[in-house]
Symmetry: C2
Subunit: 490 residues, 2 copies
């Protein structure tokens, strides 16, 4: 029976090993009402195992009523950290958890937020205003950034093209430090919605804007391209990819004829392009804002591709391998940790609080590409970023952390072969898992899907994510939590 024991141990997997000892399930059956030591509860819900024994798979070993009651706090938040997993629906979370932690495992970031709900994320059609049930990331980002549903491809303009003030812009106006972090090109939809207003998401720089968004072009009296508006919005801190667009030249305005990178420097930005620069950063504020662009386009992902194929379910189970180029750029954890450190320690942030948006962008991009390992690695990156946010928030006690997705996506855990593409992997349990990509005949063309997605919260205001909410509610929850803190502290 030793092979059986080995399997059993594998089944417990990494999750059980990573549990703080004091929180490991006790096996006690009777529910009672203990108060946790900390006034800021996280939840800790890995299965204690063995999962095939009575009670071994349970995630709760005592009554959680007091814990959840303790997690419901007043709604005034000095700081807000919004963490977006692009395309990270419940299916993508489960895929990554099964692979990395095992079925009974537990993400120390994603899964640890005590209050949870579901979020609707439809957009509206530009011509009719009717719902579009499978939105893109520009419309969905606009929803939480501005409180306004808009058409696909719109960046923080409503369906008439009118710019909508963003929560980052409001936070800055209200005296807070601000930051924007993504693993994508910083002009990509999710980071763009906080700092710019253009009619089509592709208007990254002056060239595309002249061609595709002429009404936004500087030479036509518009607000400019996404990159130019980023410099105008001037968050204290911006980390991501997308340096290529900063080699473009402004066509009008004070910096006409200069590259956007030179413009950034001329306007006082600390302009960085490598890990060493990130590590050496000492400040980020309005006098010396930071623009760290660590790759020309989207940042490299953590895992090498495992692309689903027709018949992929019949191949031997694979294991995800590291993507070597990812070591050349900072991880999302490093960027998030540095962002929180700089914003919270800046004079403005210390006094008035900060707003920070963090995105793991390539969960979506790799789901589109039917790249199972790519998708899993970027979910792991998100989990690590959430862990950083929660570490800060637990110590700070005045920080609202919200974790959600912008929309659902294609990947589904299935039993076996499908008419679409699929891939088979061996998980942390030592078991095999098949993941199907069925919304396109070709890898690269997988579609967003319309299912409601998980939303989770921690800290003051987090009760506003419980139950069914809409994506636009996040704007009001974040805005009002910050405003309440400001009112109470002036």
């Amino acid at each position: 029976m030793s092979s059986h024991s080995t399997l059993r141990n594998l089944a417990l997997g990494a999750a059980a090993l990573s549990l703080p000892v004091a929180l490991v399930a006790t096996g006690a059956d009777a529910h009672n009402h203990p108060r946790r030591a900390s006034a800021s509860p996280l939840i800790e819900r890995a299965a204690a195992g063995p999962v095939d024994q009575h009670g071994g798979a349970r995630r709760i070993t005592r009554d959680q009523t007091q814990l959840i009651a303790d997690a419901v706090k007043g709604s005034a938040a000095k700081n807000v950290i919004l963490v977006i997993g692009d395309g990270m629906g419940d299916s993508e979370i489960t895929v990554a958890r099964n692979y990395l932690k095992g079925a009974g495992g537990f993400f120390p970031g994603i899964d640890a937020l005590p209050l949870t709900g579901q979020l609707t994320h439809y957009s509206v059609e530009r011509e009719t205003g009717l719902p579009d049930y499978t939105p893109d990331s520009a419309a969905t980002g606009t929803a939480w950034a501005t409180g306004t549903k808009t058409y696909d491809n719109a960046v923080s303009v409503d369906r008439n093209g009118t710019p909508q003030q963003t929560v980052l812009q409001l936070a800055k106006k209200g005296g807070r430090a601000t930051g924007n972090v993504s693993t994508s090109e910083i002009q990509d939809a999710t980071p763009a919605v906080q700092v710019s207003h253009v009619s089509l998401r592709r208007c990254y720089g002056p060239v595309a804007t002249t061609a595709s968004c002429p009404e936004n072009a500087k030479e036509n009296g518009g607000l400019g391209s996404i990159s130019e508006q980023l410099l105008d919005t001037r968050p204290d801190l911006t980390f991501g990819g997308g340096s290529a667009t900063f080699t473009e030249v402004a066509k009008a305005g004070q910096w006409a004829g200069q590259t956007l990178a030179d413009q950034a420097r001329a306007r006082g930005f600390q302009y960085l392009t490598d890990k060493a620069g990130l590590a050496s950063l000492k400040r980020a504020d309005q006098d010396k804002p930071v623009l760290g662009l660590f790759s020309p386009g989207n940042m490299p992902v953590r895992f090498a591709p495992l692309v689903a194929t027709r018949g992929g379910a019949d191949l031997p189970a694979a294991t995800c391998q590291p993507e070597p180029t990812s070591a050349q750029v900072p991880s999302l954890r490093e960027m998030t940790g540095k962002a929180i450190e700089l914003l919270s320690k800046s004079r403005t942030g210390k006094k008035n609080g900060f707003f920070l948006q963090v995105e793991s962008a390539s969960i979506d991009k790799k789901d589109h590409a039917a790249d199972l390992c790519g998708q899993i690695g970027e979910t792991q990156q998100l989990d690590e970023a959430v862990t950083k946010a929660l570490e800060f928030a637990r110590a700070d006690k005045n920080t609202l952390v919200i974790v959600t997705a912008d929309h659902a996506h294609t990947s589904q855990i299935v039993d076996g072969a499908t008419p679409g593409l699929d891939a088979r992997v061996r998980t942390a349990d030592g078991a095999e898992m098949v993941v199907a990509y069925g919304t396109s005949a070709t890898a690269g063309g997988m579609q967003h899907t319309g299912s409601q997605v998980r939303v989770a919260g921690y800290g003051p205001g987090a009760a506003n994510v419980v139950g069914l909410i809409d994506q636009t509610d996040l704007f009001f929850t974040m805005r009002d939590s910050m405003a309440a803190w400001t009112r109470a502290n002036r």
Copy 2:
């Protein structure tokens, strides 16, 4: 612009119309902390619209902190009502909501429970004990019914075949009234797990049991088929389909040679097979338990089929039509309402409380069949059953209501054609929605999927569904909530 106004009105749809006036969004921007009049809060979160206007799509119009705090109650529950949507993942909920209520709409049952979380539902392989990421309804039902993960096809036995006591059996032993309601054959996995213990789910009656589960057969000294064990477990009340099996003849024991229907009558059951019988029921208790079987097999569903096809996304948008045969049987709402009425008014139920499981079974069956309208209608049936449960629970104040799915399923809302099957419908918004079924090349073969699913709770103990839980946690939450009430009231 009148056509535009019409579209706008359509976009608001049925949801806005069904809102109680006092709960309609006020448009007030400032969050504040009102106390609701009721001590038993439900949530009410339809968009007030227009959804393409700033704030028009929000579901929360004021801070929910106090409301959620009020929803977190002590964990002692006199009564427990568990409502299962078979195969009702977040995607299936969203499909049905979009179609029936509109994207900004709100289910008065499903969506009204104030506390929500996500639930993992893997099973274990019989040979190895390792996780199976795409479980069937027998293993998943066993998980919440007994607290034990088991293999696919097992009905409340562990992976070694050992019977596991069910929460219904425990509730009865603890002095409570008990009920079991489903739209499927009452021998189907989800209802079977509460009343029987067999090694394979197909062992409905003596014939199949002799052939497939000989160790369970009465003539071999076993507990008997699912139907025979149902009679032995003797819940106060059982409603569903599945009368065909009751024409089988017992092979051993006191009623050998008699049909199971005759056995039921001989043992004091009120044996019913039609709506009139249901309507005239006056009691359900251990002296006169009720066995109402309203169709030979699974009960008819509400909507006529709309089966997805290859290229179905390119067909004109369809509208779901009533299925005439469904009028011949009681609805799930009627069965649930009658069950709650009889159990709560019985001498046992009034004094000691009751446990009731309710299932809408054919969300799953129609998802397997790629039948979009079938699936939507059965989700509506579930919503109506939940509404009944919440009506009772709000008045009673000592009832825990839990609503969840047993596993995720195939259907996905997509933008357009897929390599699998798809169908296009016109929704309550007046917009078009495409739903894809991509896990099988043929309608009828669609697979369960492994995504975590929504779980929601109302009443004492409901805080134990918040955050990430496992299916087996439900057993302990229900058991311990009932035990706590019993301890406090003896």
